[in-house]
């Protein structure tokens, strides 16, 4: 971001104000995503919390029985289905929330302890916690002076 000079005597400060406005317009536009793009898989993110990997995925409308998860030492697969049918007896005016059927695999950066993987779904967000395999845990190495 550029510095805005707010000098009262500066005859060109109108341009500063204009640039400020333009910056704001671009920033607003950049931050505004429309509903037009329909995605066919849940958006996900993967985080590293030192002792485990945490995967979160947006799965609005899916309950615990609609999601299947499988894991190997180095990968995780989530799959599920959301039915996009109109409720019984209703006529549809607008349908942006499509039916969704997906299977997504993630390669993990290090080995995980498959037996300790746990998953929960809350407010339409799936969270999978994958504790790292003892092999992948960071180990502190002390430096000795000689």
């Amino acid at each position: 971001m550029l510095t805005y000079w707010m000098d009262v005597n500066d005859p060109f400060r109108a341009f500063d104000a204009m640039r400020r406005r333009m910056d704001q317009v671009f920033r607003d536009y950049d931050q505004t995503a429309g509903p037009r793009v329909r995605i066919t898989y849940p958006r996900a993110s993967l985080r590293d919390t030192t002792d485990s990997f945490v995967l979160t995925a947006e799965v609005p409308g899916l309950g615990e029985n609609d999601i299947q998860i499988s894991a190997t030492m180095e990968s995780l697969t989530i799959s599920g289905e959301r039915k996009g049918k109109a409720p019984e007896g209703y006529a549809a005016h607008r349908q942006e929330r499509g039916a969704l059927r997906f299977a997504r695999s993630f390669a993990l950066p290090a080995k995980i302890d498959v037996d300790k993987v746990s998953a929960s779904v809350k407010h339409g967000v799936l969270t999978v916690t994958m504790p790292k395999h003892p092999e992948s845990q960071p180990r502190a190495i002390t430096v000795k002076a000689q």
Binding site: G34, E58, Y90, A91, V125
Partner: protein, 128 residues
């Protein structure tokens, strides 16, 4: 720029935003039967108290704030922690006092009951 059509009109002031959270329009379904309108909106990550629904001047505004509870170093992320906002024009036949909302699995169910049909009125003709 057509993407902006469903969002609240931006104010004309050059006020700087105090948060850098983006605002996105949630995807919605709108259904109707003879008794009510039903709006379904995808609001992943929004707790029940994070939803604000306001009805004013024939417009229903839906605002929702996402929880920001994730920790750890990001390896990869497609999720945008955003606020949701969308406006709906509501026909006058809706009984705005009886609007009902519930949040289930990250999906908002908004029920807008139609008002009872205006009773047909009989006009009597008077003889002079």
């Amino acid at each position: 720029m057509s993407q902006d059509q469903n969002l609240a009109p931006k104010t004309e002031s050059a006020a700087e935003p105090t948060t850098t959270r983006p605002v996105v329009a949630p995807t919605v379904d709108i259904y109707e039967n003879e008794r009510e309108y039903l709006i379904l909106a995808d609001l992943p990550g929004v707790p029940t108290d994070g939803v604000r629904i306001r009805f004013e001047n024939g417009e229903l505004s839906l605002d929702a704030t996402r929880e920001n509870g994730e920790t750890g170093e990001i390896i990869g992320s497609e999720i945008v922690v955003a606020d949701y906002r969308r406006l709906f024009r509501i026909p006058e036949t809706v009984n705005s006092d009886a609007i009902d909302a519930k949040l289930q699995n990250g999906v908002l169910h908004l029920v807008l009951p139609k008002a009872g049909k205006a009773r047909p009125r009989q006009i009597s003709v008077k003889a002079n």
